[in-house]
Amino acid sequence: MSEVDAAQAPTPSPAPLDMPPPSPSWWRRVARWLRSTNPIVVTTLAFVLSIAVGGLLIVFTDTPTRKAARYFFSSPGDTFSRAWHAVSTAYIALFEGSVFDPHISSHASVWQALNPLSETLLNATPLILAGLAVGLAFRAGLFNIGVQGQLIIGVVFAGYAGFAWNLPAGVHLVVALVAGLVGGALWGGLAGWLKSRTGAHEVITTIMLNYVAYYLLGYLLSLDGFKRSGSNQAISRIVDSNARLPKLFPSPLRVHAGIIMALLAAAIVGWLLTRSRIGFQLRAVGANQNAARTAGMNVGRNYTVTLLLSGALAGLAGCSQILGTNTAVTQDIDAGIGFTGITVALLGRASPGATVLAGLLFGAFQAGGVTMQSRTGTPIDLVTVLQSIIVLFIAAPALIRSAFRLRGAADTSSQQLAKGWNG
């Protein structure tokens, strides 16, 4: 990766003869690139730092390690070997659950060997969509913390269309997807409308709408007609097979067409932002709302439209959950995607392409975390810690630069992503 970039770098203009060689060798250029503040280096270092912090957390809470630490001074090696064991097994399981597992039996099919990757894609699907939702709003200077609520309402709409109606194959899926999209868009647009009409800050309203959506779902799950009849648990009826996103590969692999939908959505968002009138206005409002207003743009309507679109993407994330990964609506259908989506958008720096990569990375974390928890007993909350630390470091490039003595431009401020209360 780095060599390729270095090779593509423009060759320096030939130096005058009397000035001895400023043309550095390729490895010097690589070294210089490695020590500069560019997104790839910063992301890698943030990743490494998060792994280190996570390792400390594992060590401090690991029972064998703490037992060995009681006789640390008589046999310090014990403590270190226990600590190493705890950390390495956890991280190896994280890798095996998300990329490749060498422990599968020799007569397993190729499909089984691909299972970890399939799980990664499966987990990445809603994360990419949620990350796009948050990122799109960031571009307009809005912070949509309400992906959770929008996703829930999307799930309710898509799920209801999926199990209550009887439609032919193909049509049913499209109808359910549109329903989920509309549900999320309505819930997001509500926050945008409130902001444009009353000035209520979207950070507060979207958080509150999350809770409202959560309890609304709880209410629906107690209603006959929504709830599965004959079940004591709060679970909805099962989505009709016509309305499900088709699986992409044979049986053990769970990855479904949602991932294609997510990639398409990323492409559309990319097009929207850079090539369309809506995207231009959206970015203009995000860059400087006063200038945008002076140029004749309707800033208030822009807020509504942005959160409508953002909510629609969140609704699609809900579709992936209810029409693909699961088959029935439950109270915890959100599975923390709303908030992980924020970290995905931050890691992806609100650009659609990078958001896809960030979604894949955090999807891998999520998939590996399940394996890690079941194999080594390390709680899956470690993944949340890793994700938030990565994003924390990425948000502060100045910190990374001073910690690793990187050289770089004097750009110390992070991107203008969200506005303060007066914004």
């Binding site: 690991d62 809770y211 810690v385 992070s414 303060g420 007066n422």
Partner: protein
């Protein structure tokens, strides 16, 4: 010396503020809302409650020395009269309009009227239902304690110009550290100190990234919340859940009756039979309210939050002021977290703050960044929360699903931020990092 200079009387008398009257359109909208709410109150709650039944409100605790008889109000009459009052407000608003200050009172009185009508209606489900009003208010205080402390944390932090979305994480860490260290040492004192330190550490993290590394503060707050959620959740699963007896049975604070004051009927059992954290909260409310507007620290804090460059010019250390305020805010929020575990002897649970920090943040905004306003808003949200607890016990005339009751505080917050407050003005430099000259 510097305090003298800072507080010397202004030479120029401030010009009288001329208020721009609300536009006709705005009056029409807010007036119609009042009329509709009044109609709903009079017709829905008034006619919806049983004609002959009285709403009875209990006002003294079970074992009180001086018994106060329960207050009995004819429910239907009360709701119709109060509804009519709100309608009159609405008509007056459209016809003549209120000044901005009067409108605030009108809104407050209308809320009280509608809530009281609702309470009247809710105990007419069957003859002789008594709503324990004192219990409701006690629970309001109990539920409002973390909200009030969180809101004070937000005020202290945001008045100095740093947005604090991380109240949730500070409270969660306070609750967590209080439970963990309180359980290990079996000492409430150490538990509380641990909670304060944990809240302060998250405050330090916020301050460091916001002030030194200039990270966007809203985003930063959300990420810190996630980090707090992850770390506490991890340690809970890895340590506390495996051995609840050792690590997660925090000792509870005892209620202390203040001699004399606790014997006053209604107010005594309501305010003066509380635990140490609640008394600390009283002190904090008074101290912060006074200090913010009457002390050197308060003047500097406000100066740094409104116009850091000007503050810098007169020699105030902007960054240090902000560091101090953000960390102090974290400590106060940590105390709020401790009230969840140590204050009620409850074990820590994953994500046990469950949005309380965000509601506290909403209280800061609803209260317009003033300590009094924030406390009032926090009490309102606490009341909404307590109401849903109480209503799930007494049988209302029409059953209200528990999920809708659970939504109340959140809906109240949205209404508060959107409808009642309108466009608020935060401290001018809130969220703006100060880079210096």
């Amino acid at each position: 010396m510097s305090a003298l200079r800072e507080e010397s009387a202004p030479l120029v008398k401030a010009p009288e503020v001329v208020e721009v009257p609300a536009s006709r359109n705005a009056r029409l909208v807010s007036g119609s809302v009042l009329i509709v709410v009044g109609l709903l109150c009079a017709l829905g709650l008034g006619l919806g409650s049983h004609a002959g039944y009285d709403a009875r409100f209990g006002l003294s605790p079970a074992g009180a020395a001086i018994k106060i008889p329960a207050l009995a109000v004819p429910a239907r009459v009360a709701a119709i009269v109060l509804g009519a009052l709100v309608i009159v407000f609405g008509v007056w608003r459209i016809a003549r309009g209120f000044s901005r200050k009067a409108m605030r009172w009108v809104v407050a009185i209308s809320i009280v009227a509608v809530v009281f009508s609702f309470l009247c209606w809710s105990c007419t489900g069957s003859q002789g239902t008594t709503l324990d009003l004192l219990g409701l208010l006690r629970q309001t205080i109990f539920l409002a304690v973390p909200l009030i402390l969180g809101a004070l944390a937000g005020v202290v932090c945001e008045r100095s110009g740093v947005i604090n979305v991380a109240i949730e994480g500070q409270m969660l860490c306070g609750a967590f550290a209080g439970a963990l260290l309180g359980s290990i040492t079996d000492s409430t004192a150490i538990g509380i100190v641990a909670a304060l330190v944990a809240g302060g550490l998250i405050g330090l993290l916020l301050a460091l990234f916001a002030i030194r590394y200039l990270v966007n503060q809203v985003v930063l707050g959300v990420v810190i919340n996630l980090l707090a959620l992850g770390i506490t959740g991890y340690v809970y699963d890895a340590l506390m859940a495996k051995d609840q007896n050792t690590y997660n049975t925090p000792p509870g604070l005892h209620a202390i009756n203040i001699p004399g004051l606790s014997d006053i009927p209604i107010i005594g059992p309501l305010l003066f039979e509380q635990n140490l954290i609640v008394y600390a909260m009283y002190v904090l409310i008074v101290v912060i309210d006074l200090a913010l507007f009457r002390s050197k620290w308060g003047l500097r804090t406000r100066a740094v939050g409104e116009h850091p460059r000007a503050a810098d010019t007169v020699g105030i250390n902007v960054r240090r002021t902000r560091y101090v305020n953000v960390i102090v805010g974290g400590v106060i929020a940590g105390l709020g977290g401790a009230s969840l575990t140590l204050g009620s002897a409850l074990p820590f649970g994953k994500n046990m703050t469950n949005g309380k920090g965000f509601i506290a943040l909403a209280a800061v905004i609803f209260g317009r960044w003033s300590p009094r306003g924030a406390v009032g808003a926090a009490l309102l949200f606490g009341f909404a929360d307590a109401l849903q607890n109480v209503l799930s016990f007494i049988g209302t005339p029409v059953a209200i699903p528990s999920n809708f009751l659970a939504m109340l505080p959140y809906l109240a917050t949205i209404l508060a931020v959107a409808g009642l407050v309108g466009r608020v003005r935060a401290p001018a430099a809130d969220g703006e990092p100060y880079v210096g000259r």
